[in-house]
C-alpha cells in the first residue's frame, strides 16, 4: 500500500476514535470540522490544483443547504429526493457561474466569483418569500440513511465521517488522474498546455463544476448538522473563511485544507469562549503561518520534518555554502 493510502487510513482510524474519547460537545464540534474540511477540500480543488482563487464558494455550499431545506419543508419531498435536487441545483449553479467567472482569470476571476456570491447572498437575505430572509429556515429532522437514525451526536459524526472519507477518496482520484495532471498543468503553464493540445478553458470549467458539487455535499452535511439555515451560510465571511482554511493548511495538498479546517474551526469555537476577539487571533495565526510557512501548514511541516530527519554530515564535511545549493537551484 502506498504511503498516501496508509496515511489516509490511519487518519480515518484516528478520526473514528474521536466519539469514544471525547464527549458529545466535542463530537459535535468534530462533525462541524468534518463538514468544513470537506468544504475546504472542495474549494482547494480549484484554488490549489487549478490556480483559480474564488471568493464566492459559499454560494454552492449555501444553495445546497437552502435547497434541501426548501425541498423538505415547502415542497414536502422525501429526504433522498430533496438531497439529490439540492445537489443538482447547486452543481447547475456552479456550471452557470463557472461560465461567467471563467471569462477571466486571476484577480478578475476572484472579483467575479465574489460578485456572484454576493448575488446569492442578496437573494437569501432579501427574497423573504423564498428564504425567509434574516429569520432563516429550520430543517425539521436529519435524514435516516439506510434506516439508520443519525440524530445523536455520535451517529451523526460517523455519518459525516463516512461521507467525508468517500468524498475525499473521489477528490484524491481526480487529483491523481490524467485530468488532475492536466488541471495542474493548466495552473502552471496555460499557454503551454494549449500548445500541447489541451482545452484549458474546459479543464478549468469542469474542475469548477466538480468543486461546486463537493461544496454542495458539504452544504448538505452542514444543514443536517445545524438543522437551520440562514443567509450567513452564503455570506462573504463564509467564503473567506473557507479560503483561509484552504490556504492556511496548504493549498495544492489534499491534507492541507483538512488541517486548515481543524485549526480555523477550533479557534472559532474553542478559543472564542476564552478570547472575545477570536477573529484577531485567527488573523494572527494566519500572519504567523504565512511568515514561517508560506506554502501552508502541511507543506511547511513536511519541510520541517524532512529537515529534522536529515542527518547533518553534509554540513560538517562539505564546504561552506553547500547546504544552500538546493534552494538556489530551486529558485531558477
Amino acid at each position: 500500500m502506498s504511503r498516501t493510502g496508509l496515511a489516509f487510513l490511519l487518519g480515518l482510524g484516528a478520526a473514528a476514535l474521536v466519539p469514544f474519547i471525547l464527549n458529545d460537545f466535542f463530537t459535535n464540534l468534530a462533525s462541524q470540522i468534518i463538514c468544513y474540511a470537506l468544504f475546504a477540500v472542495s474549494l482547494n480543488l480549484i484554488v490549489g490544483y487549478g490556480g483559480m482563487t474564488s471568493l464566492g464558494h459559499a454560494a454552492y455550499f449555501g444553495i445546497a443547504a437552502y435547497a434541501v431545506t426548501w425541498c423538505v419543508t415547502v415542497a414536502g419531498m422525501d429526504q433522498l429526493s430533496a438531497a439529490i435536487c439540492a445537489l443538482l441545483l447547486a452543481t447547475a449553479t456552479a456550471a452557470v457561474f463557472g461560465v461567467l467567472a471563467l471569462r477571466a482569470s486571476g484577480l478578475s476571476f476572484l472579483m467575479i466569483t465574489l460578485a456572484l456570491g454576493q448575488i446569492v447572498w442578496g437573494v437569501a437575505y432579501r427574497w423573504v418569500g423564498l428564504t425567509q430572509g434574516e429569520t432563516g429556515m429550520r430543517f425539521p429532522a436529519r435524514p435516516q440513511p439506510l434506516g439508520f437514525n443519525i440524530e445523536g451526536a455520535r451517529s451523526f459524526y460517523f455519518f459525516s465521517l463516512i461521507i467525508f472519507a468517500v468524498s475525499l477518496y473521489f477528490v484524491w482520484r481526480v487529483v491523481n488522474s490524467p485530468f488532475g495532471a492536466a488541471l495542474r498543468g493548466s495552473k502552471d503553464q496555460p499557454r503551454r498546455m494549449r500548445m500541447l493540445g489541451h482545452n484549458v478553458w474546459m479543464i478549468r470549467w469542469i474542475a469548477f463544476v466538480m468543486s461546486g458539487f463537493w461544496a454542495a455535499v458539504a452544504g448538505l452535511l452542514f444543514v443536517y448538522f445545524q438543522k437551520f439555515v440562514s443567509p450567513y451560510v452564503v455570506s462573504l465571511q463564509q467564503s473567506a473563511e473557507v479560503l483561509l482554511m484552504s490556504i492556511l493548511g496548504g493549498a495544492s495538498t489534499l491534507a492541507g485544507p483538512v488541517v486548515g479546517a481543524v485549526v480555523v474551526t477550533l479557534v472559532k469555537n474553542v478559543a472564542s469562549t476564552y478570547v472575545e476577539r477570536w477573529n484577531a487571533l485567527l488573523g494572527l495565526i494566519f500572519i504567523v503561518a504565512v511568515m514561517f510557512m508560506p506554502h501552508g501548514l502541511v507543506p511547511g511541516c513536511q519541510a520541517l520534518w524532512a529537515r529534522m530527519r536529515r542527518p547533518r554530515p553534509a554540513k560538517l564535511a562539505g564546504p561552506p555554502g553547500q547546504g544552500q545549493a538546493p534552494s538556489a537551484e530551486h529558485a531558477s
Partner: protein, 247 residues
C-alpha cells in the same frame, strides 16, 4: 505542385501603429528544413505565434497541408499536427521530466478528460514518454524534477515534448539559445535525426548550426520578408549581409 506543409500568404499583424508582420508570404514544402533569421525585433517569434494561434493576424491566411487554419484555436491546430518549442523555456518545473512528456502525450489523447484512473499506473503513457526522452538523450533522467536539471537538459526536454506528439509541422524557436558550444552540437545532432516526414521551421541565431541544418532560408526584417531562397542564395545576397550579417 504538391500541397505545401505550410503556406502563409499576405499575413499582416499590427500592434497599434507598429506593424510587426507586414504582408508575409512563404511556402514550405513537406519535409523541408526552413530557417528564419533576422535581427532582434524582426517579428520572427510573432510570426510563430500567429502560426500557432497565440496571436490572431489582422489579415492573411495560413494553410497547413491545404487546410486554412488561421481561424482555428491553438489546440485544434495542434490536433492537426502542429507542434512548437519555446525560446523562453515553458516547462512544468515541479514535475518530473517524464510527467512533462506525459502531459504532452495527453494533449492529443481523449484520456486527458479521465478523472478517475490513476495516472501513475498508466505505464503505457510513461513508456512512450520514456522513448521520447531516450530520443533526446535524457533516458536516464526521467524521474528527476525539471527544477533539478540543467539548462541544457531542459532544452532537450522542450524538444522531447514536441517530438512526443509526432508532429507533422514542428516550429523550433531558438532551440539553442543559451547553450554552450558542446551542448549546441549535441542538440543539433538531434535535429539531424528527426525523420523527414516532419517539416521543420526554425528560428535560430547560431549561424553555424542553423546554416548546416537549413535548406531554405527566409530573412525577416521589420516584419517583412527581405530575402528568401536556398542557403547559398541567401548567404550571398547583399541584402542579407547588409541587414543581418552586418557587413
Amino acid at each position: 505542385m504538391s500541397v505545401a506543409a505550410l503556406e502563409i500568404s499576405g499575413l499582416t499583424k499590427r500592434f497599434g501603429g507598429l506593424v510587426v508582420t507586414r504582408d508575409v508570404s512563404m511556402r514550405i514544402a513537406p519535409g523541408e528544413r526552413r530557417l528564419i533569421i533576422g535581427p532582434n525585433g524582426a517579428g520572427k517569434t510573432t510570426l510563430f505565434n500567429q502560426i500557432t494561434g497565440d496571436l490572431r493576424p489582422d489579415t492573411g491566411s495560413i494553410r497547413m497541408f491545404g487546410e486554412e487554419i488561421s481561424a482555428l484555436k491553438t489546440r485544434h491546430r495542434v490536433a492537426r499536427g502542429l507542434s512548437r518549442t519555446y525560446q523562453i523555456l515553458t516547462l512544468f518545473p515541479q514535475e518530473t521530466l517524464l510527467h512533462n512528456v506525459v502531459l504532452s502525450l495527453l494533449g492529443l489523447r481523449f484520456e486527458r478528460w479521465d478523472p478517475w484512473s490513476l495516472l501513475a499506473k498508466r505505464s503505457d503513457l510513461f513508456d512512450l514518454a520514456q522513448e521520447s526522452l531516450q530520443q533526446v538523450g535524457l533516458g536516464s533522467s526521467g524521474r528527476r524534477r525539471v527544477a533539478e536539471t540543467s539548462y541544457g537538459e531542459r532544452r532537450r526536454l522542450e524538444l522531447a515534448m514536441a517530438l512526443a506528439q509526432k508532429p507533422k509541422v514542428l516550429l523550433l524557436d531558438e532551440p539553442l539559445a543559451g547553450l554552450s558550444p558542446e551542448e549546441r552540437n549535441g542538440i543539433s545532432a538531434l535535429f539531424a535525426a528527426i525523420p523527414r516526414d516532419v517539416t521543420i521551421i526554425m528560428i535560430e541565431h547560431d549561424m553555424d548550426v542553423a546554416l548546416a541544418f537549413a535548406e531554405q532560408i527566409t530573412v525577416l526584417h521589420f516584419g517583412q520578408v527581405i530575402v528568401e531562397g536556398t542557403r547559398s542564395e541567401v548567404v550571398s545576397d547583399p541584402r542579407t549581409r547588409e541587414i543581418y550579417l552586418g557587413e
